[in-house]
């Protein structure tokens, strides 16, 4: 009995983790279903007529009726939704009315572009955001703290569309430090064999060093602009959490005992604010993955945000639902991952 006790102690967290994951999976399915039902209803409440979008102004009444029937719009809303779910169950997301391509193909093409942009922007934004927050609490109310606050405020308040155009004007048109809009120069873009859909990785795998550098030249400016937005939210929230933790008595005691600034940060402040840190970084990632529509438009970046916007303008219901499904899944998965990370790293939450 005594021997078996430690084993059962180790298996408990694993079992609880599995139970937790199963619970999360179930709630993910329910949430996605709700999200789809909500989006589906909203799409049909829109005054835009998808049939008219397809057949145009000149169509006769019989053509209109024929296309309406082909799209299944002559059924009641619940029946239409059920048909959609049946198709979805078979892995069929339908055909986009605005591109004429299967929605799944469109999503496989556009999501990697957004994923690459968002991930790079998050890495940049999180590194700079955490760095700025730490500098702020090392020197609170100093000039460097003020600069950090101004930068984060700017990132919050300046419209991304404007800053994107300004960035292009300065770094592309003025200084020539950045390549133009798009993912690659015209010289390379059609010689690249898409393997992963991520331009940086595909150009690296191609073995063409110049193509890889060209991809970097195109990527860094939109990444920097989205990174600034991400950095702004991370800096503001993390700085506030660190300042609060820094004012607690155990930190004063550590300082009184002669602990170095680094030791206080690494061993006391960061471990005790990791919950906030993980949550803020993950939320920032989710908002980037949702598709930075305006940045993608300014930089002619063929991502998910622009795909969804075009679908909304065209009342392209299969595309709207497909993109919503991907964005909703990202949101839910990252939220679940955040919960799991906080739960695993912070014993207080168990």
């Amino acid at each position: 009995m005594v021997v078996s006790a430690p084993n059962s102690g180790r298996s408990m967290p694993v079992r609880r983790l599995i139970q937790r994951l199963a619970g999360n999976l179930f709630s993910l399915m329910i949430t996605l279903l709700g999200l789809l039902a909500f989006t589906f209803t909203l799409s049909h409440l829109s005054p835009v007529d998808p049939v008219l979008q397809l057949v145009g102004d000149h169509a006769t009444a019989s053509t209109y009726a024929q296309v309406r029937h082909q799209l299944g719009l002559d059924h009641s809303l619940p029946v239409q939704f059920w048909h959609y779910l049946q198709q979805l169950g078979q892995g069929n997301l339908g055909v986009s009315q605005s591109t004429g391509q299967p929605v799944a193909n469109d999503l496989l093409r556009t999501f990697p572009a957004t994923f690459e942009l968002a991930t790079c922007a998050l890495i940049l934004g999180a590194s700079c955001g955490i760095g700025l927050a730490l500098i702020s609490i090392w020197h609170p109310k100093s000039w460097i703290d003020h600069i950090a606050r101004v930068i984060s405020l700017l990132g919050y308040s300046v419209p991304v569309f404007w800053i994107g155009l300004l960035g292009l004007l300065l770094f592309y048109a003025g200084l020539h430090w950045s390549a133009g809009p798009g993912q690659l120069d015209d010289l390379y873009v059609y010689t690249l064999e898409p393997k992963t859909g991520l331009v940086l990785i595909d150009s690296w795998l191609s073995g063409d060093r110049e193509m890889f550098i060209n991809a970097l030249q195109h990527l860094w400016l939109p990444v920097a602009i989205l990174g600034l937005l991400s950095m702004a939210s991370i800096t503001r929230l993390l700085r506030a959490a660190l300042l609060e933790e820094n004012s607690k008595e155990y930190v004063t005691l550590a300082r009184a005992k002669g602990a170095s600034r680094w030791r206080i940060v690494w061993h006391h402040l960061l471990p005790n604010t990791r919950g906030t840190l993980i949550t803020v970084v993950m939320l920032s990632y989710v908002s980037l993955l949702e598709g930075a529509v305006l940045t993608e438009s300014v930089f002619a970046w063929p991502g998910l945000g622009r795909y969804l916007t075009n679908a909304l303008f065209a009342s392209d219901i299969p595309a709207i639902l497909g993109a919503t499904l991907v964005i909703g899944s990202c949101f839910i998965i990252i939220n679940a991952l955040t919960d799991a990370l906080v739960w695993l790293t912070d014993p207080r939450t168990r």
Binding site: S46, P47, V48, D49, L52, Q53, L54, V55, G56, D57, H58, A59, T60, A61, T63, Q66, S96, Q97, S98, T99, G100, Q101, D106, R109, L165, L168, L169, Y172, A173, H176, W177, S178, A179, G180, P181, G182, D186, L187, V189, Y190, I213, L216, Q217, W220, S297, V298, F299, A300, P302, R306, Y307, N310, F313, A314, S315
Partner: protein, 522 residues
């Protein structure tokens, strides 16, 4: 030392990343929005981007002369002959002409191309169904009369001259039957495949199409029109006009299309860039729904509105360069176009007309596309109508929403545009001056305007064979609509484009499809 090292590293990384601008030497790079493109099948494509591509991918039996669009010149047909009853045309095909695939162009291809448009019954099919063609009778209306001749018959009361105009429209592009049918799925006449591929005889062929991203075309050396001067045509989707301006300035695009008037002005004196304002056939107008209220149905209100439209303020001030003043339903450049501009902005005169008619406290809602230039024009009209004592409430909406509201008559008024569907005066006359009351969605129908006499006269015009007589009748119809109708036509658009100064041989006409890339050099 440490600082020097850091600055050296910084400079080195910037040098490595510094970007150089130039388009590939044998490639024409065009920056424009491709977001409107739905299908590159001529039986379906009806958007600006797709019809522009058709001119470069396909050929028709006859096409407008790029230099003089009113003149139709033989293209895949060498000549044609009208039947004695004026209800048929026999075309003789060009000897030795082939498609990009190498297949010869045969009468069967002409029959296949026209009949699939009717059988697929997609958006642009109405252009050809005006001839009385439908899925049931089309096979009997198109006949192969010899190894290189095809005869088209029709039942509608229209002249052969009008039929020739219709056959010069993009929807009448001749498709390679063998190639299209080799990709057929579920008896779709190759429709799905042709949405993103081409099977024509134009100077270019589609090499790759990625929706909302790029259309890449390569030269078709077999084209009966001759191989294009540049081997590759790359049309890339750049949704933002401001970004298109930067691309052309930097030399990363050879042509930038659809610039706004602010971008156009900014490019006026830029070295290496030639801004060009091309008059196009789009008309911008205010349309009233006469079913919405008694005021909007009152001809005195229509007349007063003609004096409340600030034509000059919009065309020569607010949107300078983007519009010219035009007040009749046929755009300047069309057969029979009336270029008179009898109305000027005069709020006092409008007030007097309204007072005489006993119309007071007028207010109505204008549903308008939320994109420039529609919203800019609507805001200018809101201000100019206010000076005449008429209150306008603007309802900015998606373009698709405006269309849906117009189709269901759920609107008071709208500011919108009309572009011709084919190069013949009937394309606009049928829209503005007919309401057949049979469910046909003409603009008169949208406005709830009942005009049996005008409708009959417009139908009469399309049956006339003599061009001078047709022009005279259209002029008369335009004067009638200009004087009293629920439309205030005010502006004819110009497309603002910019070319790099080394680009030569680019031609563009006034209809959306009249964009010619094959003779471009750089």
């Amino acid at each position: 030392m440490k600082k020097t090292l850091i600055s050296l590293l910084f400079t080195a990384s910037l040098t490595a990343l510094s970007a150089h601008s130039a388009t590939p030497p044998n490639t024409l790079v065009v920056a424009q929005s491709l977001d409107d493109a739905i299908s590159f099948d001529p039986a379906q494509g009806f958007e600006t981007s797709t019809v522009q591509a058709f001119t470069n991918l396909y050929q028709r039996l006859l096409q407008s002369d790029p230099a003089h669009p009113v003149d139709l010149r033989p293209t895949l047909a060498t000549h044609w002959q009208a039947g004695s009853d004026n209800r048929s045309l026999t075309f003789t095909l060009r000897d030795g002409a082939t498609f990009a695939s190498g297949n010869p162009i045969r009468p069967e291809d002409v029959i296949f191309s026209l009949s699939r448009v009717i059988k697929l019954n997609l958006e642009p099919s109405f252009v050809l169904t005006q001839l009385g063609w439908n899925a049931k009778n089309i096979d009997s209306q198109l006949t192969k009369t010899s190894a290189n001749q095809v005869t088209l018959h029709w039942d509608a009361a229209v002249s052969p001259a009008f039929v020739l105009s219709l056959l010069s429209a993009p929807v009448a592009s001749i498709v390679d039957e063998k190639e299209a049918l080799s990709h057929q799925v579920n008896n779709d006449f190759g429709h799905q495949w042709l949405s993103s591929h081409s099977a024509g005889s134009g100077p270019y062929q589609i090499r790759r199409y990625v929706p909302h991203e790029v259309l890449l075309m390569t030269a078709n050396p077999r084209s009966p029109a001759g191989a294009p001067k540049l081997s590759t045509l790359l049309i890339k989707n750049v949704p933002e006009a401001a970004t298109r301006r930067l691309l052309i300035e930097q030399g990363d695009a050879d042509i930038a299309r659809n610039l706004g008037s602010d971008q156009f002005s900014a490019l006026q004196h830029k070295p290496g860039v030639t801004p060009v304002s091309v008059p196009i056939a789009s008309l911008y107008y205010l349309l009233f729904n006469t079913q919405s209220s008694a005021t909007l149905k009152n001809p005195a209100f229509w007349e007063a509105s003609r004096y409340l439209f600030d034509y000059d303020g919009i065309a020569n001030g607010l949107l300078k360069g983007q519009f010219s003043i035009h007040q009749s339903f046929l755009p300047s450049g069309y057969l029979g176009a009336l270029n008179d501009t009898p109305y000027t902005y005069n709020p006092e005169k409008a007030k007097a007309i309204l007072a005489k008619a006993g119309l007071t406290n007028i207010s109505f809602k204008v549903v308008v596309n939320n994109q420039p230039p529609y919203l800019d024009i609507a805001q200018a009209l809101q201000a100019s109508f206010a000076k005449g004592g008429v209150k306008i409430e603007l309802i900015p909406s998606l373009s698709s929403e405006v269309t849906a509201k117009m189709a269901s008559h759920q609107f008071d008024a709208t500011v919108t545009s009309w572009g011709p569907d084919y190069f013949d005066p009937n394309t606009n006359a049928a829209a503005f001056a007919t309401n057949p009351e049979d469910g046909s969605s003409t603009l008169a129908y949208r406005a709830g305007w009942h005009i049996p006499e005008l409708t009959a006269e417009t139908h009469k015009a399309v049956a006339l064979t003599d061009n001078a007589q047709r022009a005279a009748l259209y002029e008369k119809l335009q004067r009638q609509v200009q004087k009293s109708s629920p439309y205030v036509i005010g502006l004819q658009a110009h497309q603002l484009i910019a070319l790099r100064s080394n680009i030569k041989g680019y031609q563009q006409g006034m209809n959306p499809d009249m964009v010619y890339y094959s003779q471009v050099t750089k």
